[in-house]
């Protein structure tokens, strides 16, 4: 009981924290480098606990994100649904990749996510973003091992402290 509750706290807390990180201000120079935190955390949970993360859940998280910092409702929902679908589909392989391969896969996922963004914004008539737009997936790639190890460590500790 206590254990499952602690796990739910970690799960919800990590997602809420990702939302806050996404909103957090940065110096102007660093702004375009901000990785897609919500996406990274969601990738982690989709790889590790796929029974929790369905497409519907990703959709709801995306809607919440749109309410927080969106322009167009359901833009992030679409992005996260696509992201989650790909992760779930290749989960069995992603999970057993060595870290460097997994990192590359995450970079590809985030790059794909940027393409989805461009498509959505293109349809709603916005101009092409500047070239700095493409840096964020690279930063996401660099940060991914940290996110993965941190969340894995926290989860592992919960497991140890309970047994």
């Amino acid at each position: 009981m206590n254990r499952s509750r602690a796990r739910i706290w970690l799960f919800a807390g990590s997602i809420a924290f990702a939302f806050l990180l996404q909103l957090m201000p940065l110096p102007l120079v660093l702004l375009p480098l901000k990785p897609y935190w919500v996406g990274l955390v969601l990738i982690y949970w989709a790889i590790e606990t796929p029974e929790r993360i369905g497409l519907g859940f990703a959709f709801l998280i995306g809607l919440a994100g749109d309410l927080l910092n969106g322009e167009l409702l359901a833009e992030q929902a679409l992005r996260l649904v696509v992201l989650t679908f790909i992760v779930l589909r290749f989960r069995a392989r992603l999970r057993f990749f060595p870290m460097w391969q997994q990192t590359l896969a995450v970079a590809a996922l985030l790059l794909n996510d940027r393409i989805v963004v461009i498509m959505v914004r293109g349809f709603s008539g916005e101009p092409m973003p500047p070239s700095m737009f493409w840096l964020s997936p690279l930063v996401g790639m660099v940060v991914w091992p940290l996110v993965f190890l941190l969340l894995d460590d926290l989860r592992g500790r919960l497991r140890v402290s309970d047994s």
């Binding site: 102007l28 369905g54 167009l72 409702l73 359901a74 589909r89």
Partner: protein
């Protein structure tokens, strides 16, 4: 959750059910986006969600606020004294300018009375603070700490001490979102102060640059010219500084001159701003003046009565 079928799923495909669900969700997202883009009535939903959204903004801005407060607390005495001195000088300068301005205002009022124009100089403003959150690095929006409860409405111009910053595009309970004039989807009618030429300044997405892509090639524009709002369109009152011309070139078709300008307002991310309360004209161009003389066409139609009988 079709994925929850424990570990019997194959290594490769999840089967068709999952794909169907994907398509369903994608369609749902597309419908929501189109609805939101076309009608925008989902904005009401966002306003309702503001109860949750606003605390999230405040929490996200908290670390930056703490950092700023700490910096203020540890900053050394003589640095503060220096800043104080500088501010005092600036105040003096502003005071001097204001005094000169008073005379101009009085003169202007007299002239306007003479011209029988509407006297709309009294602008009432409201002070607001920025909430330091970053909504999207590529669509710089500014969040203010006043909202519908303080009487803010969509469309109000936002200015700072140096010039026009942008306009309110979304209002929540105690928070509102401002679109900056450098936003790539923003355009502001401007006038070149020196020559009176009217044109439109578009945002570029870069925080320190505005585009003026369609100036007639023979127009009188020079580097260093100041841009002020022209007041056309009714959204921004006339006469506020917008920017300064940085460079002039011809556009790709060489039919027009294209200029680049630097915004006058300090669009960087912290500080206080002013919201203009009442707008000088409701919407649209000013009403045309009724002609009271004889018709201009000499090959005359029968003269119309100059004064229409009003019911």
């Amino acid at each position: 959750m079709s994925i929850a079928r424990n570990d019997t799923s194959t290594l490769f495909a999840e089967g068709t059910a999952s794909t169907l669900r994907l398509i369903a969700y994608l369609a749902l997202a597309a419908i929501l986006m189109v609805l939101d883009h076309r009608s925008g009535y989902l904005e009401d939903l966002r306003r309702l969600a503001g109860v949750v959204v606003e605390p999230a903004y405040r929490i996200a801005a908290f670390p930056a606020d703490v950092a700023r407060a700490t910096r203020t607390a540890v900053v050394s005495q003589d640095q503060l004294a220096k800043e104080n001195r500088e501010l005092r000088d600036a105040l003096l300068l502003a005071q001097a300018r204001l005094n000169r301005l008073d005379a101009l205002v009085a003169q202007n009022a007299r002239l306007k009375d003479l011209l029988d124009a509407q006297n709309t100089l009294g602008l009432s403003v409201q002070l607001a603070r920025l909430v330091d959150v970053d909504l999207d690095p590529f669509r710089p929006r500014v969040v203010l700490n006043v909202g519908a409860n303080q009487g803010i409405t969509v469309g109000q111009p936002v200015i700072d001490a140096h010039g026009v910053m942008g306009q309110i595009i979304e209002v929540l309970g105690n928070t509102s979102v401002t679109m900056l004039i450098t936003d790539p989807t923003h355009a502001i009618p401007v006038m070149i102060e020196r020559s009176g030429l009217r044109t439109i300044a578009y945002g570029t997405g870069a925080i320190d640059q505005l585009d003026l892509p369609n100036i007639p090639i023979s127009a009188d524009v020079q580097v260093g010219d100041r841009l002020v709002t022209s007041g056309l369109g009714g959204r921004f009152p006339a006469g506020f500084p917008v920017g300064e011309i940085l460079s002039i070139s011809t556009d790709a078709s060489s039919m027009f001159a294209a200029a680049k300008a630097r915004p006058a307002a300090a669009l960087d991310r912290s500080g206080d701003v002013l919201l203009l309360r009442d707008q000088p004209q409701p919407y649209g161009a000013p009403a045309p003046i009724e002609e009271s003389g004889p018709p201009r066409d000499p090959a005359g139609t029968p003269p119309v009565p100059a004064v229409q009988p009003s019911p």
